[in-house]
Amino acid sequence: MSILEIIGGLLIVIGSIFLFLGALGIYRMPDVFNRLQAGTKASTLGAMATILGVGLLAPGWIFKVLIIILFIAYSNPISSHALARAMHKRKGYMYFKDEDIDAYSEIEEKDNSEK
């Protein structure tokens, strides 16, 4: 068992545990924005770690594995950002309703008043 296989197996275990924690976050969190933050960040890290671990276990596959990691790294934040923007425009329910946290509504009001 070489050093590359040990690092790859460790990355696979860490990534799968992060995927499970992301799914547990979207099950337990009280609010759609908290669920977005938990689900998207944790599952992005978990998927990237798992796929990189497979690339270290089989070193001939490293090129296509890096392409999959690149696509996940740009496609997952785009969909998360579009979903958060849509839910904010629909006045989604916020659990921590506070003036300091919801800074995007002030910018939106300023844009609407300038028009």
Partner: protein
């Protein structure tokens, strides 16, 4: 080394079940769309693990297509919810 991948596949199956429960219970449309997005990410990594387990290089293409096309449906649903499609 196979037992590590069996453990990871079991954990990913539990994560899929938790996301499916959130899809069933979710009060708004954003929760259900988020459950679809998370399930797509978990599905991509489990397909890569199955490709290593079967030792077939061609199975990575399925994960590649999912990584390219998986976010388009979520973006279309989000633009529809924003009433800007």
């Amino acid at each position: 080394m196979d037992y590590i991948i069996y453990f990871s596949l079991t954990v990913m199956t539990l994560a899929l079940i938790l996301a499916a429960v959130r899809f069933y219970k979710g009060p708004s449309a954003g929760d259900r769309t988020l459950a679809l997005d998370t399930m797509t990410t978990i599905g991509v990594s489990s397909i890569v693990l199955l490709a290593y387990l079967f030792d077939r290089y061609i199975y990575l293409d399925v994960a590649l297509v999912y990584g390219v096309l998986g976010f388009i449906g979520v973006i279309v649903i989000a633009r529809y919810l924003e009433k800007a499609l």
